[in-house]
Symmetry: C2
Subunit: 456 residues, 2 copies
């Protein structure tokens, strides 16, 4: 009963695990703000030291941005890479926090105790589930059950500028049989492995007409209005059925795998409940698609922002000189972000009338990630998760994008097991972020079981 | 040669006329800012005293806002009402003025000397053309040539909240055979009488979906996007030919009077030049309409502003909770602003999908003004103007709105002769406002001729 011994160790050491996480949470390792660079260094050093303490050979690796932390340990069996990020979102707006964001505390939450503080769920609490699992394992067995590389990034919340160069420069060291990433949520009470993530193409359109805002009485009716031009372009991006009209857009969108469809159907997703939390009631996506397909396996085109002319209080009869919109396309399957960008821009240019010009800004382009779930590690991990939570774990999709999983595929030829214990009410990126203590505790235990199963 | 004597008097007294105008310009009578209330009072008092000095019975009339000035004089002949406004726009942004806005000075301008300062053209310089004409007339003849009521407002730049109540309360005193308004421009070098002004309907649409901005990855594709809904509404306001699609919108839009069409054609308007000044090159209005029709006699629907979601630097993958737009409709003929508002709102409501709601804000509604140019005063004044400028004066339209002309029609049953000497480069409402000294001088002489002709 070696597994039981490790799980017992997790339970008896849990208060100490919480105390360690709280120390990490006290470090304001905000990566987007250079004022916190030393705090990022401190968090990296703290982690390298902690990994060293449980027997890994760990070091802080400088980059041109925030440092990486890499630890190596174990021997024999499969080679696993674990990824997490130690940087956190800024805490603004501070006034909306009920307690200081970097003074973590234990409070009552909707499902029991929670640990409140910036980074509790995203991603310090999640990455420490894995570290604590390793600690318990080595405490009981004196060694890890397999070869392990631990890899922590410090720039995830600021666009990961150093990540791809670092992966390329250290490909030999970081390439493993499979990656483990702990930065996702459960599906309500169901433990989940995210097996597909949508890609993201960000675009900004700026339509310009006159060289300054005009008086709508003196010019209105004769001068081109860029807001009207932009509205026409934006309105034409979907057809009456909700299909996106960019030529070639659906190239590479695969049909949904029947096995996944069956699993998703079993999740008992109630769109009215999900949408009800944000004041909505019914799915507004493409006709004929199920609600989970709309967010997990169908591509989207959404307006994220737009602005033109006078938007203050009251009224001003200006004819705007400029109108702009930010749009994002969520991508699936093998949709090619760069081909779609070109097609989109050509489509927009075709709609620019005389006296108007258009300018584009590039806000990133990453393809979707789909894991090869027929690799044995996926089912093995799913069963281990199911045992811990006493509930069938599910392969699910995610509407958002986790670029690192795509980079691991592209640059290290490695799929990822995206297993996380976050909950939809964790308020990541928002004031009063929290992590359920149950997520932390059973998360640690889950990794113990997964390590054992993958190493068997 | 009594007319020549008065014109000579204007010429010999011109330096003194300029000096008086400069004294008026030194008073910062900004009506929108309560801090300048005493200055508005001072300007009103200065005008009442000046009118008294040339033999009118003049007084400052308090309102709940800024005071009115009313002067009565003359006897016999037609009864004329002259209107101008003594309040001015704020001088912000001060940094963009080349000299202090309330320290008027004479400078060189593109067509000769100009008087620079806030209010030089809008409207103190213009209203003083009339006062100086009366002064010259009474100096030569000892009396005015007809019965005259002079009426100065002090709230024109702040929406004229007291105007309609004042007109109603003093209808007997203010009702005349015809009104004279000096607050408009010439048409390049051609003296002009504005005989039609577009009305204005201001509307704001606010479309709301979720109760907060959503993550476009987690919700995109399933949740309603109000920016997309708004774009569709805005894009549908015009058809392919540029016609406005609001049901019943064109009810009351008259065909253009052939006499006006002929006069407008003779103006030699070159759209490329007019639009070239603002970086445009070609008319973008309804197919089949001439450029001057587009701004003078055709109604419009223009987006004045719109905003939704994230509009800052960079990118944020939010799905906006709200999207809003400010729109204005310029109206002509007998288009009914309130009927159009109802029809517009009904049309918008019909396009609001499930889970979205719409709210409207009312930003004013005034009908167009069309003068009955077959009344003899119009042709009489046009000929007098033509003699002064040695160039055929034209009846023109104006794309903007001058609400007082409509109020005079509605509440006093009186048409207006809108005769002004402003130039398109006067920079009214902007830094470095100016008035050509030629406009001031020949403006005074024009009113002398018009007074003589209308009184004959």
């Amino acid at each position: 009963m070696t597994l039981d011994a490790v799980l017992s160790r997790v339970d008896t050491d849990f208060d100490a695990s919480v105390a360690r996480l709280m120390r990490l949470l006290e470090i304001p390792s905000i990566s987007t703000d250079p004022a916190y660079a030393a705090d990022c260094d401190a968090a990296a050093a703290w982690l390298a030291e902690d990994l060293t303490g449980i027997g890994l050979t760990a070091s802080v690796r400088p980059t041109t941005g925030r440092a990486m932390v890499v630890g190596q340990g174990g021997d024999g069996g499969p080679h696993l890479l674990f990824y997490g990020h130690y940087d956190v979102q800024p805490a603004d707006p501070l006034a909306l926090w009920d307690s200081p964001p970097f003074e973590p505390r234990i409070e009552d939450g909707p499902r029991g105790k929670v640990l409140r503080g910036r980074g509790a769920a995203d991603d310090k609490g999640q990455l420490m589930t894995f570290v604590e699992a390793c600690r318990a394992w080595t405490a009981v067995h004196g060694a890890l059950p397999c070869r392990l590389t631990v890899f922590f990034e410090g720039e995830e919340e600021s666009g990961s500028p150093s990540l791809v160069p670092f992966l390329k420069d250290n490909a030999d060291e970081l390439s493993a049989d499979v990656a483990l990433i702990c930065d996702t949520d459960m599906f309500d009470d169901t433990p989940a492995i995210v097996t597909q993530l949508r890609g993201l193409l960000g675009e900004e359109i700026i339509v310009t007409a006159a060289n300054r805002d005009l008086h709508s009485g003196h010019y209105g009716g004769m001068a081109a209005n860029p807001a009207r031009v932009l509205a026409g372009i934006l309105a034409g991006l979907h057809d009456d059925r909700g299909r996106i009209t960019v030529p070639g857009f659906y190239d590479g969108v695969p049909p949904l795998d029947p096995m996944l469809r069956a699993q998703w159907d079993e999740l008992g997703f109630v769109p009215g409940e999900f949408l009800g939390e944000v004041g909505l009631s019914q799915p507004a996506g493409e006709e004929g698609k199920s609600p989970l397909e709309m967010v997990w396996s169908e591509p989207t085109c959404e307006i994220n922002g737009m602005i033109s002319g006078y938007t203050g209080e009251g009224f001003k009869t200006v004819l705007p000189a400029q109108a702009s919109a930010k749009l994002s396309f969520r991508l699936v399957g093998t949709q090619d972000p760069l081909a779609i960008r070109e097609s989109f821009r050509a489509m927009v240019r075709d709609q620019i009338p005389p006296d108007c010009s258009v300018e584009f800004r590039d806000h990133g382009a990453s393809p979707a990630s789909h894991m090869r779930t027929d690799a044995p590690a996926f089912e093995t991990a799913r069963q281990a998760l199911s045992r811990e939570w006493e509930r069938e774990a599910a392969f699910i999709g995610a509407g958002g994008s986790i670029p690192v999983a795509g980079y691991f595929q592209t640059h290290l030829g490695m799929d990822s097991l995206l297993i996380g214990f976050g909950r939809s009410d964790d308020a990541i990126h928002s004031p009063n972020e929290k992590y359920d203590l149950a997520s932390f505790h059973k998360g640690i235990r889950s990794w113990v079981r997964i390590l054992a199963a993958l190493s068997a």
